[in-house]
């Protein structure tokens, strides 16, 4: 059984940033002068658009969005919401993203202003301040030739060897800062190449990355029931001198038996294909990575005095095999997925932990649950050792009743149980006024591996849940959620309830509470649970056209927050949250 050798507040997929921002949030000297000043970019953006509009005011159109979050921190030592800069001194933290896009025929460009003001989104236990142009890009299509420069979000295949994407709640934004060019060889085949550096907030990596792919589409004659969508991709990473020096400085302290082969360049390649035949669709992808240096927190390292410790850099090749078979018919939909992952931690900077500096994305093999207690224990994707299967079946009995069954089976490569889940759901719509959802979730969760709770037994949960929506008339509705988690492990059982009243088209009012039902035995082992606390939340949402405002008073238990198999630990929260979203 492999275990994590580092205690983390984030979880094990999050990390340190690549080494480019100092503790004051400023870009380190070694990384300065690498970004165009924000004012110059803004000027350039306005100048180009003004020029285009001056020639033909109707040539294009502006669009954009604004998202802003504000957190007021109110200390509550009973739930552990204290002893962080926010609770002790800052008291307020905020984030803001302003997107501006301009589009005209085959030409478009965009710019995003990012602001983090004493924000805990980067490190839930810390405080980060920084603002500036987070993203800019210019894109043009000239017949079959397509290019984009600036910051680029893209992926190859399912993302196993390369994915640049943004996930704001998890503070992930690993856009490529560089250029991408693609060419449509013909109607069905396309070749793409890209090169650049990996973005990290307002700076970017020392190492560079380049890659490309060829994707195609093959089908039979007109009316054919089959098609293929094959593709191959590759990624090459080149370490800069500073990174090479730092890896060398670290590895040179190893005994030769723990030594590695260090190269300036790392390589990854993948081949993938989607076969579609009538109602069946089969996606397969195989990926291979070599010459890469990555940190393995579980690997034993022998020091020169003979002491064996844990955690070292490794250079073993990595592999991922992933397959997904989908059958979709009128009433039934079935998805079967399988994945095997070995040594596929892929970072632009080997010193970066978790998701910061991530080059790739490995698809999860567990359902992404949304209800509070069904999502309480989430299985984060394991990058070094995982073999997993997942099945998802949906069936519509009739127009009023739909059923869903999902199962997850995840082990490590040594056969140790990591995660099991059976999730069932029934949705009943007897008429237009009622929408009833209910089901049962069973889990077996390796808390030792996922949360580093060494020595604690796997958490076995049974979670019945219900979600009832009743529309009183065209404008008023009420929704009730009730969930109960039964478990004898970790923090014991929980109960959760929510009431939501909707007054269309503007208002939504919500009240919820979560309460711990730990047994005396659990409270003896975990005294912090003796202070029984209601995790009470109340708030409102106001919608006005494309604007949305929400204000919530929140007491939130600490736990794992996941998105697409990528997770992080969120400490307990106590305070007021203000969120704004505007699309224009």
């Amino acid at each position: 059984m492999k275990i994590n050798y580092q205690c983390s507040l984030f979880n094990y997929n999050l990390s340190k940033l690549p080494r480019n921002i100092n503790f004051r949030g400023e870009i380190k000297k070694t990384m300065t002068n690498k970004m165009m000043p924000g004012n110059l970019l803004l000027f350039l953006f306005i100048f180009i658009i003004s020029s285009v509009c001056a020639q033909d005011p109707l040539a294009g159109r502006f669009s954009g969005s604004l998202q802003a979050n504000g957190n007021f921190f109110i200390k509550d030592s009973l739930i552990g919401a204290y002893k962080t800069p926010q609770y002790e001194s800052k008291k307020f933290g905020s984030e803001l993203w302003l997107n501006l896009n301009y589009n005209a025929k085959d030409f478009d460009m965009g710019l995003r202003f990012d602001m983090f003001n004493n924000s805990n989104i980067v490190n839930p236990n810390g405080s980060f301040t920084g603002q500036g142009i987070g993203v800019w890009w210019i894109h043009k299509k000239v017949n079959a030739f397509d290019f984009r420069v600036g910051y680029i979000y893209d992926q190859i295949g399912s993302g196993i060897i390369y994915r640049a994407y943004e996930d704001r709640p998890l503070a992930i934004d690993n856009a490529l800062y560089g250029a991408r060019m693609s060419y449509d060889i013909n109607q069905d085949w396309k070749v793409k190449v890209f090169a650049g550096k990996v973005k990290t907030f307002f700076a970017y990596s020392g190492p560079t990355i380049k890659g490309g792919s060829i994707t195609g589409f093959i089908t039979g004659k007109e009316g054919s029931t089959w098609s293929l969508a094959p593709g191959v991709g590759f990624v090459n990473q080149t370490f800069d001198d500073e990174t090479i020096q730092q890896i060398t400085a670290n590895v040179s302290t190893y005994t030769p038996s723990d030594g590695i082969n260090l190269y300036h360049n790392t390589y990854a390649g993948s081949a993938f294909n989607t076969l579609t035949y009538k109602n069946l669709s089969l996606y397969i992808e195989g990926a291979y990575k070599y010459h890469d240096v990555y940190r393995d927190a579980t690997a034993p390292l022998t020091l020169w005095d003979g002491t064996v410790t844990a955690g070292k850099f490794r250079d073993d090749p990595g592999t991922v095999f992933f397959g997904s078979l989908t059958y979709a018919a009128d009433k039934i939909g079935i998805t079967l997925e399988g994945k095997r992952t070995e040594n596929f931690r892929y970072r632009i900077d080997p010193f970066a932990e978790g998701n910061f500096g991530a080059i790739n994305y490995i698809p999860p093999m567990a359902r992404q649950n949304t209800y509070r207690l069904t999502a309480f224990y989430s299985a984060v994707t394991q990058e070094l050792s995982e073999q997993a299967f997942q099945m998802d079946v949906t069936y519509s009995l009739n127009k009023k009743v739909g059923l869903l069954v999902n199962g997850s089976y995840i082990n490590d490569l040594e056969g140790n149980l990591l995660y099991r889940e059976i999730y069932t759901e029934a949705q009943i719509k007897p008429n237009t006024s009622w929408n009833i959802i209910g089901g049962l979730q069973l889990q077996n969760y390796n808390i030792d591996v996922y949360l580093s709770h060494k020595g604690e037994p796997n958490v076995k949960t049974i979670v019945p849940y219900a979600d009832v929506l009743y529309k009183m008339n065209k404008t008023k509705s009420i929704r009730l959620e009730a969930q109960y988690m039964s478990t004898k492990q970790d923090r014991g059982s929980w109960v959760y309830a929510l009431v939501e009243v909707g007054v269309a088209p503007h208002w939504i009012f919500t009240v919820s509470d979560m309460y711990n039902l730990a047994s005396d035995e659990i409270k003896r082992l975990k005294p912090e649970l003796k202070n029984k606390t209601h995790y009470f939340t109340a708030g409102l949402v106001y919608n006005a056209g494309t604007n949305r405002f929400s204000l919530n008073y929140v007491k939130q238990v600490d736990g794992i927050v996941c998105s697409g198999g990528v997770c992080r630990y969120e400490p307990a929260f106590s305070g007021v949250r203000l969120n704004m979203l505007s699309n224009f």
Binding site: Q246, T255, Y267, F356
Partner: protein, 277 residues
């Protein structure tokens, strides 16, 4: 189509390096007079921190005492378990160091001479244990820019501790240097989570020995003025009088003194001295 695929594959293979970079493996050479300060962040509830503490002990030994450790209990993992812990090692100054050095979610982590080889997500100066040995090696490749000695005298009746720092510049400086003093205590027995323990309670050590525990900062957290623009060969001194807490075992306490740069915040030189000789 085939031609393009062939060209891409050929180019990618041609780009491959045949030989790896030559790495010379070996223990620390210990030829430098540069000492290294490790400010480690740890806590009772950090199950992997005892392994980190053992690594620090090894690094001190391998570097022949030229590594000086301070274990700061602060943050989420440092909250004591009221049912199991006798002590609470958290301090106001420790929490201030947590913020100053940008400790974050990963424990154990340590700032190595506050050089910021790597940063935490919010941009801190601490680094994980995989990198400690390498960071120390890198720092000890160069000669120290300053020397520092510490003299202590202790009166057990009054628990009055006098500390004298004497620095010497080994290069010309064009900035203000700051004096920093911390008090640590070793040999404290208290409950600790420990991933390596199997019995009697898996994952727990009820009689764990805590070493290098940060007790207090004698100086300001950001350092006190020491000397401005010293030239090569210039010596400078600063004296402090401090009353040791009655809760600490004076014989197990040490004084950690270090010089920091006012411009970069980095540690220039560090040394240690026993409170009771």
């Amino acid at each position: 189509m085939r031609n393009i695929l062939f060209i891409l594959l050929t180019v990618s293979f041609l780009a491959c390096e045949k030989d790896p970079i030559k790495i010379v493996y070996g223990p620390p050479s210990n030829t430098s007079d540069q000492k290294v300060l490790m400010e480690e962040f740890t806590g009772f509830n950090c199950t992997f921190c005892p392994q980190g503490s053992d690594d620090i002990t090894s690094l001190i030994s391998l570097n022949q005492g030229n590594v000086i450790a301070v274990s700061i209990h602060s943050g989420f993992f440092a909250m004591p378990n009221p049912q199991k812990n006798k002590y609470d090692f958290r301090t106001v100054d420790g929490d201030a160091l947590y913020t100053l050095l940008g400790a974050g979610g990963f424990y154990p982590a340590a700032a190595i001479n506050r050089t910021g080889f790597s940063t935490t997500p919010e941009g801190g100066l601490v680094n994980n244990q995989t990198s400690w040995a390498g960071d120390i090696n890198t720092l000890r490749e160069n000669p120290a820019a300053a020397g520092l000695s510490i003299e202590t005298s202790y009166i057990s009746v009054t628990r009055e501790l006098k500390i004298k720092l004497t620095g010497i510049a080994k290069a010309d400086f064009n900035e203000k240097l700051l004096a920093n003093i911390m008090i640590t205590e070793s040999g404290i027995v208290d409950w600790q989570k420990d991933a390596r323990v199997e019995t009697p309670v898996k994952g727990e050590n009820a009689s764990y020995i805590h070493n290098h525990v940060f007790r207090d900062a004698v100086t300001q957290i950001a350092g006190d003025d020491f000397v401005t623009n010293p030239s090569k060969g210039q010596t400078f001194t600063k004296e402090y009088t401090y009353t040791l807490s009655g809760a600490w075992v004076a014989e197990n306490c040490e004084v950690i003194g270090f010089i920091t740069s006012s411009s970069s915040g980095k540690v220039i030189q560090v040394n240690e001295a026993k409170v009771v000789h």
